[in-house]
Structures are given as C-alpha cells and as structure tokens.
C-alpha cells in the first residue's frame, strides 16, 4: 500500500500542481485585466491631474508654451490678492456655518424623525427633493425667490415693513447670507447618516439608560449624540468639503459680486484667461484646505476610535 502510493504520488501530485499553477497564472492575468479600466480612469482623471496641478502651480503657464518655473511667485501673488483673501474669509465663514447650523439642523431633524412621529416618513421623503435636483437649477430658483420685484422673500417681508427694498444677490452684507440660505437647511444627507447610526445603537444601551433613570434629555446628550459622533463628523467633513468646491450657487447668482468670492470662482476665471499656473495654485490651496479640515474634524470627533 505504502509503496504503491509512494511511487504514484509524485507524478500525480506534479500534474495537479502544474494545473493549479497554470490556473493561478490565468487567474492572475484576468485579475489585472479586470483592474485595467478602473486603473486607467484613476491615472487619467486623478493621478495625472493632481501631479499636473502640484507641479504647474509653481510655474507660469498658458497651456501652449512650456511652463516656466517661477518658484513661489504664484503663491505670493495669491496671498496678496484681495479677491483670494476675501475667498478665504468667506470659506471660513461658510465652513463654520456648515459645521454648526447646517450639520446641527440635519442632526435635529434626524433626532426628531428617529422618534417616528406622525408624518416622519413624508418629511424624510420630501426633505430629499432638493438633493436630487441640479444645484444649478436650485441656485436659479433661489435667484428668483430672492428677487426684489417678483421674489417671494421680499414680498413676505413687506408685510411687516412695506419699505423693504433689498437686492439680496447684489449688495454686500446680504449676498453672503443669500448664498448661505441656498444650502444651509438642506442637510438631508446628514439626517440620513445620523439616523443610520442611531438605528445601530444596541437596544441594551437604551434599556440600561432607562433602568438608570435617564430622562429623554439626558438620553439625547449623553447617549445618542456621543454614539453618533462618527456620523456627525462625517457630515461635517462632507459639508465643509462641499463649501470648498461651492461654485454653481455663486456663479449663477452673484458671480462673486457683493463680497461672495470663493476659490473655485477664481480658479475657473484663471483657466478661462489661460493663466493655468495660477489656476492650479488655487487648486493646490483647495487640496490643502480639504486635507486640513479632514484632519481637524477627525481629531475633534475622535473618529478613528472604535465606539462599541
């Protein structure tokens, strides 16, 4: 018995081994073939653009001639430009509003809908509508909504004070707030992810809290809010990132007038002026601000720690 197997085994095993090795090779081939489309998209639309942006931000470049290395000149010019400083100020303001009022409103709605009061389903469904239509169309709707002559807001305000004549999207202190109003309450994504986290809270946590005599106020502040901090942190990151890239709701309403500039508006204007190096300096700032806000929020919300 033993002798027989010993004499037969090597040949058989080798054959099997060969076919396995062959199979492994074929599989590996197909694995990389399957990755090619995604990799091509990554290289063409992410890696190459980002490298281009990083490198040419230090050059003077019109897109036709070879880029000329000019060191930090673009950055110096940028930080001396009043338009850019205005953009940074706006971005800071909008980011703070996004992280507090916008996310706060989303969380508030989530906490209310989580208790499933009468009409919660329809509220959730309807709340989603502004997010499924184009930002551009939404900006246009608000442009007319805020019009001094035919808009609703001023007509409404004139009920209280007939003399109100505000051109919301043209005048300095109002324009910033008019743009803010086009997004600040539309926080359905925050609501959805916070509700998701709340549903994941184990029933035992609730029961333990009730046994310990916690009232609903304490439940909210000591249990729900801390346990949802990942979702809230995610909401803050998403909404701040959206402020960095906010373009349509400015371009289509004020186009930067009335102290409402934002970095992407400068970027697009520079691209249109064939000032590519300078445009990409703006892009680098956007990247840095994005990573910075991600890092800050991650730290503030201790998002890397496990919750349960």
């Amino acid at each position: 018995m033993r002798g027989q197997t010993a004499s037969e085994l090597p040949g058989r095993a080798l054959g099997k081994f060969k076919s396995i090795k062959n199979h492994r090779k074929i599989t590996l081939f197909w694995i990389y073939v399957f990755l090619i489309p995604s990799l091509a998209i990554f290289l063409l639309f992410y890696l190459m653009p980002i490298l281009t942006v990083l490198i040419t931000s230090f050059t003077e470049w019109d897109g036709f001639n070879t880029p000329k290395f000019i060191g930090l000149d673009n950055y110096i010019k940028l930080f001396k430009s009043s338009v850019f400083l205005e953009s940074l100020r706006n971005l800071l303001g909008w980011s703070i509003i996004a992280a507090t009022v916008h996310v706060g409103y989303g969380v508030l709605v989530a906490f209310i809908l989580f208790r499933k009061p009468f009409g919660w389903k329809i509220t959730q469904t309807v709340f989603m509508i502004p997010n499924v239509i184009s930002v551009a169309a939404w900006a246009m709707i608000y442009k007319y909504f805020f019009r001094n002559d035919i808009g609703i807001l001023n007509t409404f305000l004139r009920i209280f004070n007939p003399n109100i004549q505000i051109n919301w999207f043209f005048e300095a202190p109002y324009a910033f707030w008019a743009i803010t109003l086009t997004w600040v309450f539309y926080a359905v994504v925050v609501t959805l992810i916070v509700m998701g986290d709340m549903m994941a809270i184990p029933q035992s946590v609730h029961e333990a809290a009730i046994v310990d005599g916690a009232n609903s106020w304490q439940m909210t502040w000591r249990i729900h809010l801390p346990l949802c901090r990942n979702a809230i942190g995610t909401g803050v990151i998403a909404s701040v990132t959206a402020r960095i890239a906010m373009y349509e709701s400015i371009f289509l309403t004020t186009n930067g007038a009335g102290n409402t500039m934002n970095i992407p508006v400068i970027l697009v204007r520079s691209v249109m002026d064939s000032n590519y190096g300078y445009a990409n300096t703006n892009a680098v700032i956007m990247l840095i601000v994005g990573i910075l806000s991600l890092w800050i929020v991650n730290k503030a919300f201790r998002m890397n720690e496990r919750i349960y």
């Binding site: 998209i41 063409l44 209310i112 309807v126 709340f127 169309a137 608000y142 995610t234």
Partner: protein
C-alpha cells in the same frame, strides 16, 4: 408641568417638520405655479394664483428652443457613462473583494483616497486633457469626464457587495471548471445587483445634475445639457418670466420623477455617502 413640557416639545417637533417640508418643496411649487401665470400675473405678486391653467409656455419651449435636444443630450451623457462605470468599477471591485494579488491594498487605497480630492481642483488638467483629445464641445468628451465621477464611492459600495457574496460559490464554480469570466458574469454579477443599482443611481443622478464640467466643456447649443440651459435664461427669454419658470420646471421635474420612481435606491445612495471619513 410635565404635560406642558410634553406639549411644548411636541409643538417644537412638528414646527421643525413643517419647516423642513416647506423649505424643501415650496420653492419648487412656486416655480411650477408661476409657469402657468402670465407675465403680468407674475409681476403683480408671487402669491397671486394663475387665472387659467394652460401649457402654452411648455409648447413654446419645445417648439421654439431645442429643449428636446437638451433633454436627449442630458440622458445620453448621464446614462452611458453610468452604465460603463458600473461595469468597470464592478470588475475592479470584484477582483479586490475576491482575490489576493500583489498591489491589492494599494490599488484599493488609491481608488478610495480620490474621495478627498475637492471636485473642482482637477479643472485645468481635465479641461486640457479633453481639449487635447479634440473632444472639446462634444458629448463624448463630457461623458468621458463623467466616467470618472463615482470612482471612490462605487469602489467602496461594490467591494462590500462582492464581499457579501459567499466564497463557496466561486469555489464550486472552479471545481465545475467555469472560467474566470464566466464566474464573474454569470455567478457574481447577478448577485451584486443591489450594490450596482445603488452606485449606478448615485452616478446617474450626479451626471444628470452636473453643471460645472458641462458648462466648461460644452460651447454649442447642439451639445448642451439641461442644467446648463439655466444659465441662458435671461438672454433667452428676455424677461419673459413665464417661459423662464416653465424652463426651470422642465429642468427640475425629471430628477424629481426619477426620485419618485426609485425612492428607496436614491435614499440608499445618498446615505452611502457616509462611507466618507
């Protein structure tokens, strides 16, 4: 005391819900209603109801302007890239979820980290890429850019989907002598339907509503998409508000109808944005 507290908190709850509903649909309802008013009615005040309901403005739009072309363009550049992206990203996510190979974690990490790149920071390179490919002002160029849109999110969603399919199925397929391609297309893909729909809905909506690159890369009316048409309203209709509001309705309504038809999928797609961070 307790009862008063309870009533107050109820009142507050319903106030917030009512406020949420109002801000979400009132502006849209106002636009739709205004599209049925005459210019004079619009000028005389926003709360005036239209005297008679007719679809003249809509008929005018589709006859006088190429709203049909805009709609078809929008459908083409939204649907085709979505279909291709879902297939491409499924292929990538599948091998990452199911196999071990050199570079696996690196590739996945690279795909997902693209989520952190602010959307508009790639503007100039993409603008130049499309121009150099001679695709400026073509639907193909725009569709190509849209192909890249959902990379990170889709990889995340689809990898999770393929991981949830039991590995035993692939083992059984291997023992039955099924090829790599067949194992993917006939066994795994049908089971990954839900994840594919979620990421597909996400990308379709994003493409359908996209304004930034559509505005940047398209210059002629024949290739224009619906969201970009909004920018031309003032010059197009020279202060004919009825037409403006009708056009806005045409731009806005398809998205809402799509949402009405695929409510659950859209909600799942939006909620899946939470994989950020």
């Amino acid at each position: 005391m307790n009862i008063i507290k309870k009533i107050l908190s109820r009142l507050f709850m319903y106030f917030i819900m009512l406020f949420t509903i109002t801000i979400s649909i009132f502006p849209i309802l106002w636009v739709i209603m205004s599209s049925f008013k005459t210019n004079g009615e619009i000028m005389s005040g926003p709360f005036v109801l239209p005297a008679e309901v007719n679809f003249n403005a809509y008929v005018y739009l589709f006859q006088k302007y190429d709203f049909l072309t805009f709609t078809i363009n929008s459908l083409l550049v939204s649907f085709i890239p979505t279909l291709l992206s879902v297939l491409f990203f499924s292929m990538g996510a599948y091998v990452i979820a199911k196999y071990d190979f050199p570079g696996k974690n690196l590739f996945f990490g690279l795909f997902v980290v693209t989520l952190l790149v602010p959307a508009h920071s790639r503007t100039q390179p993409i603008f130049s890429l499309i121009t150099n490919l001679n695709l400026y002002n073509t639907k193909t160029g725009l569709a190509l850019v849209y192909l890249s849109g959902g990379l990170a999110m889709s990889m995340f969603i689809l990898k999770n989907t393929f991981q949830s399919i039991p590995n035993e199925l692939n083992d059984a397929a291997y023992l039955d002598g099924a090829s790599f391609i067949r194992t993917f297309f006939t066994i795994n893909l049908p089971l990954a339907k839900n994840g594919m729909i979620t990421s597909g809905v996400l990308m379709f909506l994003a493409n359908w509503n996209e304004f930034y690159y559509a505005n940047l890369l398209i210059s002629s009316s024949a290739n224009r998409t619906l969201p970009v048409v909004t920018i031309l309203f003032n010059s197009m209709f020279s202060y004919n508000y009825t037409n403006t509001f009708a056009a806005l309705t045409v731009v806005v309504l398809p998205g809402i109808i799509f949402y009405g038809l695929a409510q659950r999928q859209v909600q799942e797609s939006l909620a899946s944005t939470s994989v950020k961070g």
